[in-house]
Amino acid sequence: MLEIVSLLAIIALAYLTGWLFPNRLQLTEERVRRNFLRCYPDQQIAEIFIDDEGRTALLRLQNEQSVGLVLQPSDRIVCRMLTIPVQFDISPTDGALIIKVHDYVVPDVRFSIGNIAPDRLEEMLRAGHDNKGGQYAT
């Protein structure tokens, strides 16, 4: 019983913080670049694609065997470099790509591609995958 009451109190407190500290931050090129290079200072970014909702960014890197992924699951940023040992699958849906990262703590990502030419994204996402025999599941 005490546990249930505690859980309800926690939910109330969480909603209170959500109300008082609304999260309006979106990804921008500057935030994506700065945070990705903070995590991977030895990488060079060639191009940044930010999804329509400003929550996910894909990065083309000079090292074409890798793709950068920058997420904003709440008000903070999470970066990953998807190299050959860290694989991912992509499946297109309505105006979006679903990116399934093989990482226990990265949930599936929906990347809305509104005004980004899908073939440019595909070309980039294939670059790191072609050499290992069709991981790219479309």
Partner: protein
Amino acid sequence: MPLDLPKPTEWAIPLFILCILIEIAYGYKTGRAVFEKKDTFTSMVMGLGSTIVSASLAGITIVTAYWVWENFRLFDLGATIPVFLAALVLDDFRYYWIHRFGHRIRWMWAAHVIHHSSQHYNLTTALRQTWTSPLTPGFLLAFPLYIIGFEPAIVFFVSGLNLIYQFWIHTEAIDRMPRWFEAVFNTPSHHRVHHATNPKYLDSNYAGIFIIWDKMFGTFIPEDKSLPCRYGLVQDLGTYNPLKVATHEWVGIFKDMWHAKGIKNKLMFLLAPPGWTPDGSRLTSDMIKARDLKYNPVKTPKS
């Protein structure tokens, strides 16, 4: 008959909630404390889960501790005020080492990483506690205290006080305490550095109550105003799912050990520092510090 002492963490809970509400109000007014809905929820659920795990295992913890104390103690120390004070200091010394091992041995990091998994730093972060410490050998570090002769109830009591002490230091709302206090005690400033992922700050300030242990054993790094702390993990979590937060490093260790070639590599994945791999393809904190020096060399003053 074991000493019947109060459980400090239980009677501190209303105080914790009150302090969190004050910090939320202060953060809302001044912007000097930041909260986020999912982060708050996860931190507090981790705290609730941790108390449930501790309560479920209390029986076996008490029986084991008393068995060691009754069979192996060197002295009968009794329960006087000086004994309580000595227990508080020695238990803090124990905490320093368990915490240091918690960052340097992946097996123990698997349990402790939970406390560092928030990218925020506020009083709810203090409650983001592990669910899995009973799966590590950390409990063995309390045995020397029982063998010296401290009654387990006294050790549990002072450990509770230690945990309560560490609550208030999880805040950005307090800048610095008076100089003498900063010199002796762990403070929000020292502990912010401990939670920071800036390469310069990694693996420092393991103290519980007394910062003197870090100064004695070479792990003290003061907060540098020109380098604001950035909190979280060197590889931050993309999830707020409490079950995943609690288990992710264990899953990682299991996968790595499963795929590792040879018994030595399997053991190294358990016992080496987090980030260790046989081929150096991931980064340990030492490698991150070295990489940082390459990109941001320490500027020596011109002579």
